[in-house]
Symmetry: C2
Subunit: 334 residues, 2 copies
């Protein structure tokens, strides 16, 4: 069965699509009221984030556009030191889309939301004529309540802080690339797409004083560290040999001539906090199902001449500047 334009009309056909697919898979008491907006209990200051998802292919090892749309926005809200509670979800769908595919993706979104402990409370569906969008785009917005005081921010890194990451780099980016280019020799890579909110809540509760939390998605670790360095007006030293990269990702990247530190991750976080709390934070991460390979990868130092830089100490003992991503190694990665 293929999606018809009528299903985006706002009339009877839209109602059927919403009831048959979205309400069924996302089911919760707030969504079931079917008003144009949702009334939500919330305690403490609100935290809001949004992301549009345009990944191609729509499905890949380790996830699909729907799980990404849930995890990505859950993670963005978490990175502010908040507990994500609610998601809105807007679909832009191409006429002719296979309804089975839409159903499969909606089902996995419902499952991802339940696992993360958030509710999809309101949404919207537009159907556009064939050729005016590539199958499916999803935009989620996330709402949570602030639980860290003060909230972590990209501008709070301080010289003397330790830089931790919660696991291996590059898995998501390489997986999407391999699947899109049909690189069959890379069949064993899988996206790391995962919800990090439970790990973040434990870090806030059990470790405290976290200066920066950020998920290194588009542009990868290198770009995200540069953003933090600029926002905080500090420099960052990274030990290349301390950065976990799975063997299959490392060899795939070297074959393709790309650097895993610039590849997108969808289930990893960077945590920057005072050095003396680093060990405790590593413990908390390693005890979380999505942080088993967490590592201390570097430190924050003053910005020489006031110019923020990210420097990599290579395996060979030299150093090289890790600059921000300039161009796009690959569009539509998330």
């Amino acid at each position: 069965m293929q999606l018809l334009l009528d299903s985006g009309s706002g009339g009877r056909a839209s109602q059927r699509l919403i009831a048959d697919i979205f309400v069924r898979h996302f089911d919760n008491a707030i969504l079931r009221r079917m008003d144009d907006a949702a009334v939500l209990p919330l305690h403490g200051p609100a935290v809001m984030s949004t992301d549009g998802y345009t990944v191609t292919p729509l499905e890949f090892p380790g996830g699909n556009i729907g799980t990404l749309a849930v995890h990505g926005t859950v993670n963005d809200v978490s990175m502010m030191g908040a507990r994500p509670l609610y998601l809105s979800c807007a679909f832009i769908l191409e006429e002719g889309l296979e309804l089975e595919l839409l159903d499969r993706i909606a089902a996995s979104m419902g499952e991802a939301a339940r696992r993360a402990g958030v509710h999809i409370v309101t949404g919207d569906t537009k159907v556009v004529p064939r050729g005016t969008c590539d199958k499916m785009f999803i935009t989620t917005a996330g709402l949570g309540e602030l639980i860290a005081e003060p909230a972590p921010s990209g501008s709070l890194a301080r010289p003397g802080d330790a830089v931790l990451i919660s696991g291996s780099m590059g898995d998501h980016g390489l997986t999407v690339m391999a699947r899109r280019e049909k690189l069959s020799f890379m069949s064993d890579v899988a996206s790391d797409s995962a919800p990090l909110n439970h790990m973040v809540e434990k870090l806030i509760r059990e470790v405290g004083e976290i200066h920066v939390l950020r998920d290194p998605t588009r542009g990868g670790l290198a770009t995200t560290l540069n953003e933090i360095a600029e926002q905080s007006r500090v420099s960052c030293l990274v030990e290349e040999c301390a950065v976990p990269v799975h063997e299959n990702v490392r060899s795939g990247c070297s074959l393709l001539g790309i650097d895993p530190l610039y590849l997108a991750n969808e289930g990893k976080l960077i945590c920057i906090l005072p050095k003396e709390r680093a060990e405790k934070a590593l413990d908390v991460m390693k005890n979380d199902e999505f942080g088993r390979e967490a590592a201390l990868i570097g430190e924050i130092v003053p910005a020489e001449d006031g110019r923020p830089r990210v420097t990599l100490r290579t395996r060979m003992g030299g150093t090289r500047l890790l600059s921000m991503l300039e161009g796009a190694p690959l569009p539509r990665i998330c």
Copy 2:
């Protein structure tokens, strides 16, 4: 200048696009922090809504996709009896898009947000390759605080209630249709796109006991009244001659053979409340700049045999069933 794929990479080029266009036009203290999410003061239960906008053409008399994306979501939050405060905004842009057009649309979004008194606090930009989306899609999510207790809901219409609308029907739908089909003889129609939050706040504060607030967008007045009737398990009687329709819209519709009651509106609301409060509510609406043509158009009656119906008493004195929109008269209207 045309938009390059690089601008969606998450790297340096993305930062430039965000700073040059979005931060400049949407400027506010929360957005300027440039974190992945925004921390927002909020009092009372939160109200959240989202809509994706895919309208074509992107610009039309009375507005553009950007003003629609601001007004539409501001209005959806308002319809829950809430004061909209914050918007998130996610752009999906096609490679090659004219940057001047993007700048113009962003500027009018900033202006629309200021007029409505809301802040665009967080956002996202994806750029997809040529041919994978039609120029520009925008998804906004809105966050507000509940100010009506109890909140109006589509399920609260009661027999004896009066049905009011805040102005003329069909302007937006006919304008987009005329512009798309290049119907030059309809050059004098214009979209009614407008923010209704101030009118809603006055209705709540000065009139009170509002059962239903709903904006008749996709599917028009006829479809929205049917939705309300079904949610509330009541029927609705509408006086055709009481429904305001501008003369140019009426003649355009009769030329094209379409019914203005099924056309989308983007700056109108339906207000259902106890009959004895109708006059006061009409006063409030008429004193608002976007409600000058407000009218009492009908009443809520019990659903005969338990089957909710919307019935139109025609100008000729007969009655006809006003059913829900079945198909799409026109896709991509909003």
